[in-house]
C-alpha cells in the first residue's frame, strides 16, 4: 500500500512538472484568466453604466417634477456577474482539460515511456491516479487564480465585498468546474491512448467538445419557444410565469424532446447546476443551498457520473496492453 502511494505521488509530481512547463497549457491558462477578467469587468462596467443612466433619468424626472414615476434602482447581484465566467469555463475550461489529457499521453507515447512504465511492476490504477492527481493540482491552481480574479474584480470594480455565503457558493462553482474540466481531461486521455495518430485523437476530441459544449446546448436553446423573439416570446405577449407553464404543459412532448437533447450533454448539467448556485436562474437567486440542491442534485449527480465513467473508461483502455503496445 505504501509503495502504491509513493508511486502515485511520483507520477503525480512528474505530471505536474511536465504540464506546467508546456507552452500550450500556459497559453490556454493565460487566455482563460484573461477571459474571466474581461467577462467580469464587462458586467461590472455594464452595471455601473446602468446605475449612471438610472441616476441621470432620476434627475431628469425630478427636474420635471415627476418624482412619483421614478423606477426602482437596478440591483447588482455579484454572483450573477459570473455568467460569462461559467460559460467561458464551459468552452475554454473544457479545452484546457482536453489539452492536459492530450499532453499527458502524447509525451509518453512520443518517447515510448508508457510501454516502459507498463512493463515495470506498476499498477495501471496507480498510473491513472497519478496522472489524474498531478493534473488535478494544475486545474485547481488555474481555477483558484480565476476565483481570486473574480473575487477582487467584483470587489474592486463592482464595489461589493462578497459575504461568506456568496464565497461558499463561489467555491462550489469552482469545485464543479474542476469536475467538469477533469471529465474532458479523462476523455482526451482515453482518445490519445486509443488512437494511433495523436493528431487524429486531438481532432476527434475537439469534435466531441463541439458536440457537447456548443451544438447540443445550441439546439436546445434555439428550439425553446420563448427564445423565438428577442427578449422572450411570453414577455412580449404579457404572459406571466404560471400562465406560461399552463400553456407549455400542452406541448409536453416537444418540451420533453428538447430537454432530453439538452440533458445528453455534460455541459448543460454543469451550466444548470452553476446557474442555480449563483442565482443566474432567477428562481434560485438569494436562496439557500438546501433549496438549490433540492432541485439541482440531479445535475450534480450527472456531472459527477460523467467524470467517474470517463475515469474508469481510461483505466479500462490503459489496461488493454495490446492496444498500448501494438496500437490496434
Amino acid at each position: 500500500m505504501g509503495n502504491s502511494k509513493s508511486t502515485v505521488a511520483v507520477i503525480a509530481r512528474k505530471e505536474y512538472r511536465d504540464s506546467i512547463k508546456s507552452k500550450l497549457f500556459l497559453t490556454l491558462v493565460s487566455f482563460l484568466i484573461l477571459l474571466i477578467v474581461v467577462s467580469i469587468v464587462v458586467s461590472s462596467f455594464d452595471f455601473k453604466s446602468q446605475v449612471a443612466d438610472y441616476r441621470s433619468s432620476v434627475k431628469i424626472l425630478e427636474d420635471m417634477g415627476k418624482s412619483s414615476e421614478i423606477p426602482s434602482m437596478p440591483q447588482f447581484f455579484p454572483l450573477k456577474s459570473m455568467r460569462g465566467v461559467i460559460e467561458y469555463i464551459e468552452i475554454i475550461g473544457a479545452i484546457i482539460g482536453i489539452i492536459l489529457g492530450y499532453l499527458s499521453i502524447s509525451r509518453e507515447k512520443g518517447k515510448r515511456t508508457l510501454q516502459l512504465v507498463l512493463s515495470r511492476p506498476i499498477k495501471t490504477a496507480d498510473i491513472i491516479t497519478g496522472k489524474f492527481i498531478g493534473n488535478s493540482f494544475l486545474v485547481l491552481l488555474v481555477l483558484l487564480a480565476g476565483l481570486f480574479s473574480a473575487f477582487f474584480i467584483i470587489w474592486g470594480i463592482g464595489g461589493l465585498l462578497l459575504n461568506i455565503i456568496e464565497v461558499i457558493k463561489l467555491l462550489l462553482v469552482f469545485l464543479f468546474s474542476y469536475f467538469y474540466i477533469m471529465f474532458f481531461f479523462c476523455l482526451s486521455s482515453i482518445l490519445s491512448l486509443w488512437f494511433k495518430s495523436l493528431s487524429n485523437a486531438l481532432i476527434i476530441c475537439f469534435i466531441i467538445w463541439l458536440i457537447f459544449v456548443l451544438i447540443i446546448p445550441q439546439i436546445g436553446d434555439t428550439m425553446d419557444p420563448d427564445n423565438q423573439i428577442p427578449g422572450g416570446f411570453f414577455k412580449s405577449m404579457n404572459i406571466d410565469k404560471p400562465q406560461e407553464e399552463e400553456i407549455m404543459a400542452k406541448f409536453s412532448t416537444y418540451e420533453t424532446t428538447r430537454n432530453a437533447i439538452e440533458e445528453s450533454s455534460i455541459t448543460k448539467h454543469y451550466e444548470r447546476l452553476n446557474f442555480a448556485i449563483t442565482g443566474i436562474k432567477e428562481k434560485y437567486n438569494g436562496k439557500d443551498l438546501r433549496f438549490i440542491f433540492k432541485d439541482s442534485w440531479k445535475d450534480l449527480v450527472w456531472v459527477f457520473s460523467f467524470l467517474l465513467a470517463a475515469y474508469f473508461m481510461e483505466y479500462a483502455v490503459l489496461s488493454n496492453k495490446r492496444l498500448i503496445f501494438y496500437g490496434d
Binding site: T27, S39, G84, F206, Q218, T222, I229
Partner: protein, 316 residues
C-alpha cells in the same frame, strides 16, 4: 507553372478526402445542414401553435391589444436561421482543420523537406495548396446549398422564388468566403508553428476570440446567447460603455458582421426584400471578410517563403 499548381491542388483535394477525421467532421456538418431545416421547421410550427394557445389564454382573461402573429409572415428562408450558427461554429472549425491538415500532413510525412528539390517553387506549391483548399470548401458549400434548397422545398411544400434563391445563393457565397478565412488561418499556423498541437490550438483560440470575445465586448451578450440567431438580432447597446465599445470594435468583429449579413439575407429579424439593399447595407462587413482573406493568403505565402525546409521532426 499552372500545371504544377493544378497538380498540387488535385493532390490536396484527394488527400483530404482520405482523412478519416475530416470525413467525420464533414458528415456532422452535412447532417447539421439537414437538421437545420428540420429544427427550423419544427420550431416554427410549435411557436405557431404556442401563439394560438397564448391568444386563447389572453382572450379568456379579457385582454385587449393582442400582439400580431409575426411568425406567420416570416420568410421561408428564415427556417434556415440555424445554418448561420452552424457555419460559424462547425463550418469554421472544419475549415481550420482543412487548412491545418493541408500543410501539417506534409510536414509530418517529411514531404515539405524534399518537395522543393523538385522543379516546383514555394509559391507554386502554396498556391496549389490554397487552390485545393478553395475547391474542397466550394464543394462542401455547394452540397450544403443543394441540401438547404431541396429540404426547404420539401418542408414548405412550394418552390423558392427567384429572389429567395438569389438570397440563399449569396448567403452561401458569403459563408464560403467566411470559411476560407478560417482555412487560411489553419494553413498559416500549420506553416509557421513549430509544434503540431500549437498549430491546431492557436487558430482555435483566434476562432474563440472572433466568435465569442469580440461580440461580448460589443454587446455584453454571453457566449451561449451568441449561438441563438434570434438573441443576436435583439442586441442593442444598453449603456454608454457598450455604445462606445460597439462603435470602435464592431466594424472589425468578423463573426458579428457575418451573422448580421446572414440574418438579413435569410430574413431573420426585420424583413428586407431588396437583396441589393442588403448587400449595400452590409458592404463594410463584406469588405472586412475579403480583406482578411487577402491578408491571410499573403501571410501564408510569406510564411511559406520563410519556412525552414531543413527542420527536424515537427514537435507533438
Amino acid at each position: 507553372m499552372w500545371k504544377k499548381i493544378l497538380s498540387v491542388s488535385r493532390n490536396e483535394f484527394r488527400a483530404l478526402f482520405k482523412e478519416k477525421t475530416f470525413i467525420l467532421l464533414l458528415i456532422i456538418f452535412i447532417l447539421m445542414t439537414i437538421f437545420s431545416t428540420y429544427i427550423g421547421w419544427s420550431t416554427k410550427n410549435t411557436i405557431e401553435k404556442v401563439y394560438q394557445e397564448t391568444v386563447i389564454k389572453l382572450k379568456e382573461s379579457g385582454a385587449s391589444g393582442i400582439p400580431l402573429d409575426t411568425f406567420l409572415i416570416a420568410p421561408a428562408l428564415s427556417i434556415l436561421k440555424n445554418m448561420i450558427v452552424y457555419i460559424f461554429l462547425i463550418g469554421s472549425l472544419l475549415a481550420i482543420i482543412i487548412g491545418h491538415f493541408s500543410f501539417m500532413r506534409d510536414r509530418i510525412a517529411g514531404i515539405s523537406k524534399i518537395v522543393f528539390s523538385r522543379t516546383i517553387s514555394r509559391k507554386e506549391f502554396i498556391t496549389g495548396k490554397i487552390t485545393g483548399i478553395f475547391n474542397v470548401l466550394a464543394l462542401i458549400i455547394s452540397v450544403s446549398f443543394i441540401i438547404s434548397y431541396v429540404s426547404i422545398i420539401l418542408v414548405t411544400g412550394h418552390p423558392l422564388s427567384g429572389n429567395e434563391t438569389i438570397k440563399l445563393l449569396i448567403f452561401y457565397l458569403i459563408s464560403l468566403a467566411y470559411l476560407i478565412i478560417f482555412a487560411m488561418l489553419g494553413l498559416f499556423f500549420a506553416i509557421s508553428s513549430r509544434s503540431e498541437s500549437l498549430a491546431l490550438v492557436n487558430p482555435i483560440i483566434i476562432w474563440i476570440i472572433i466568435s465569442f470575445v469580440l461580440p461580448q465586448l460589443t454587446s455584453a451578450l454571453n457566449p451561449s446567447a451568441l449561438l441563438n440567431p434570434v438573441s443576436i438580432q435583439g442586441v442593442a447597446p444598453h449603456s454608454r460603455f457598450f455604445t462606445i465599445i460597439q462603435e470602435v470594435i464592431k466594424p472589425f468583429s468578423l463573426s458579428e458582421n457575418y451573422k448580421e449579413l446572414g440574418s438579413s439575407l435569410l430574413g431573420v429579424g426585420p424583413i428586407n426584400t431588396n437583396t441589393l439593399q442588403i448587400i449595400i447595407n452590409n458592404s463594410a462587413g463584406i469588405l472586412l471578410i475579403l480583406s482578411l482573406i487577402g491578408l491571410l493568403i499573403y501571410g501564408s505565402i510569406f510564411s511559406m517563403k520563410k519556412f525552414d525546409v531543413c527542420e527536424e521532426e515537427v514537435d507533438g
